[in-house]
Symmetry: C2
Subunit: 433 residues, 2 copies
């Protein structure tokens, strides 16, 4: 990494004019940012799918580009803001084009950075162009800046948080209103809190992209989304939310990135979090994050995870950062040294679990379940059998002591063969966070 | 502010070798920081009061300076770290000396920045030398960076938090153990959690310095400690902690900085915080902060507020920041534009209050109290009269609806003259945070 970076004079090209892009243009007009030379930042050109669409900001005086790649290449701007989205296609091509020209890039594109971050960092550093993406994670809460800059004097052990507002809203609503996942999702879609195709959010992929980026920053490795283990909230039933609460927990979609020796494990999964834990108290569309450093200890940050205003403010902060001329590696360590993280090996993961079974109400069932677990060497921490109206059987729920994940999976596989079981066992992690 | 700053090659002089200084030298040895050219940061010279004192790090190979000002002036280092403390004397002189030479300065000195920050910013910007002070506020939690950099695309309305770990520890312990202030303070001193002279902490001055710095960053004004209104926790009694809890609140030492129009008010005072508020859940030596921006909404950050490790890690992060060559104003806006904030005008402060009286157990007292308040136009929200053993009278506690502070103070002055009152009324704010 060279000592200098290409300086921007604050002539900005914006590709993508959705909520975030429109907010950004509004912000920069209402309350300009200034470059260190005192010049106000101005948007000089824009690109979007449809030129004529009604927008809350006036773009008639800005240069229009049908092709974002042409905007990225245009000498009329010296800072390229990418708000198109998607790991491939025009977003990727436009970002690569700008970086190859040594033009600083600010993006909110989590899929792009989580998938191609290392290659883009190599390109950025080779051409002395900053590549910033604060808006990709936790909206206006500066999770990226905290890991990249504030933790640079420390060693991070663990990053854990709630990174998808849609999932957190759905889980919060399921508990509050006593409705099942599908009903709450449908309502969230009606209210605009969830996309028409909700897969990216409820499947855990959005949170997976975000934790992949945070892991790369925390541990100085290449963002490797393919190595992240991702499970969404689609299988969570109201019954689990209720039983978990009886046991003193709340069900949350938790994203974790952990370093153990030289291994980095990155996971997104539903998890039982103790009711008095700050992540359990993170309700609705809020996001929250713990960063655990060896020297600093635990820092907790919470804020609105998305939305046009917070996200556009994060883009604006990145633009201001570019204007300072700061030269630093994209992911804490120089791009040439970044090593991918490898998929989680469940024979090494050691943790506690919630296990929920639905069984026939007949003698000997509890004994059969207990024996299967004991035979596999799984030790039970708490046990709850509770008749639930309309459940079509008797739910048995138990929590385990710490156990190797692959050992428990094997025991659960054996248990699934018991004739008294009315449906496959449900497992939810109880992570140490 | 010019576009360039003086670059450091990472040859660091450290003045002050207490816990933080020793930790910093240890950190930089164990896990070096690297400049963008790939050179490791090295400590080249040190200064402290006593050379021969036993220290956890070996300083025998470092150049020794009896005088920190001589270290600040030495060409052997190109980045000066000030960990001496105090608003005047050698700390101030050394920092001024370094800045006049265009040498970047990193300091943990809250009193210095809160008192002379604007003059030092002028000096720093005139000589193109960065002046960074992350370690002055909230230890390893990047409160300074968040306000200076992450909120630059937003407008901050309110900053509110718990910024003194000693006070928070004492208040937490009073509630947990049922002991009075003096006993818990004595224990904290024995355990090393409080200084032999605890005035700076328990008098609210330390929190006052910190919120003054945060206000300057949040609102782009000159840090003006003299204009901050500061009240400590020395008058808080166990009785108030217990009565507040009965009413659903916890007593905390809260620091707030608020902008109303062009006015900036900065205050530190004991406050009643609802039990389910994140600040009420901030226990022991933790610090916590809310930042409220118009676009971003509310961001909450919590972490260990002090200690050698977190503070030294914050200093190391600032050193890394200097090495990036970033050029930005010290307090968000150029030093030449910084306006001091003015003392709080209580005839404009509008808020709710907790009022506790100790009265003789005789008829007509409640009527007299209510009439005095009603006569002044103060409206009562809740009222609690509760016999407390050993209180030597009957405590009456009430909370008001929102009222102008100067109006309430006048009512309380009149009430103090009532013959049934056994001691002066106690007022504690219930801030909107």
């Amino acid at each position: 990494m060279a000592t200098g970076v290409k300086r921007s004079q604050g002539r900005v090209g914006v590709a993508g004019l959705g909520t975030v892009g429109a907010s950004l243009i509004g912000f920069l007009t209402e309350r300009p940012l200034f470059s260190p030379t005192g010049k106000p930042v101005t948007v000089t050109g824009v690109s979007a799918r449809t030129r004529g669409r009604a927008r809350p900001v006036d773009i008639s005086k800005l240069a229009w580009f049908d092709d974002p790649v042409a905007l990225a290449a245009s000498p009329d701007n010296d800072l390229f803001v990418e708000l198109i989205g998607g790991a491939e296609g025009p977003a990727r091509l436009a970002v690569e084009t700008a970086l190859r020209l040594g033009k600083p890039v600010v993006t909110a594109n989590k899929a792009l950075i989580a998938t191609h971050g290392a290659a883009l960092a190599t390109l950025a550093e080779a051409h002395h162009a900053p590549l910033l993406f604060e808006a990709a994670v936790m909206g206006g809460a500066p999770a990226v800046k905290m890991l990249r800059e504030a933790m640079v004097g420390d060693e991070v052990d663990l990053v854990a948080g709630i990174l998808n507002g849609t999932c957190n809203y759905i889980l919060t609503e399921m508990e509050a209103s006593g409705r099942e996942f599908a009903q709450v999702l449908a309502e969230a879609q009606r209210l605009g809190y969830a996309e028409a195709d909700p897969t990216v959010d409820v499947g855990g992929f959005d949170a997976g992209h975000k934790i992949t980026i945070l892991a790369a920053l925390a541990f100085g490795c290449a963002p490797t989304f393919a190595a992240a283990e991702v499970e969404g909230i689609g299988r969570i039933e109201l019954l689990d939310i209720r039983l978990a609460k009886d046991l003193g927990y709340r069900v949350k979609l938790v994203a974790t990135a952990e370093r153990t020796g030289t291994d980095v494990s990155v996971r997104v999964h539903p998890a039982l979090v103790p009711l008095d834990h700050p992540l359990a108290r993170t309700a609705g569309a809020l996001n929250a994050l713990f960063i655990q450093g060896r020297r600093i200890g635990r820092i907790f940050v919470q804020g609105p995870g998305a939305g046009g205003g917070p996200t556009a403010a994060a883009v604006a902060a990145d633009i201001a950062d570019v204007l300072t001329g700061a030269a630093r590696p994209v992911f804490q360590a120089p791009a040439s040294t970044l090593v991918p993280f490898t998929p989680v090996d469940t024979s090494h993961v050691h943790g506690r679990y919630y296990l929920r079974l639905l069984v026939r109400d007949e003698p000997g069932v509890i004994a059969a379940v207990s024996e299967t677990l004991a035979g596999a060497g799984v030790s039970i921490d708490s046990f709850l059998q509770k008749p639930v109206e309309g459940a079509g059987g008797v739910p048995i729920v138990l929590t385990t002591h710490a156990v190797i994940e692959s050992v428990l999976s094997e025991a659960v596989r054996r248990m699934a063969a018991l004739p008294a079981l009315l449906e496959p066992p449900r497992l939810i992690q109880i992570p140490r966070i």
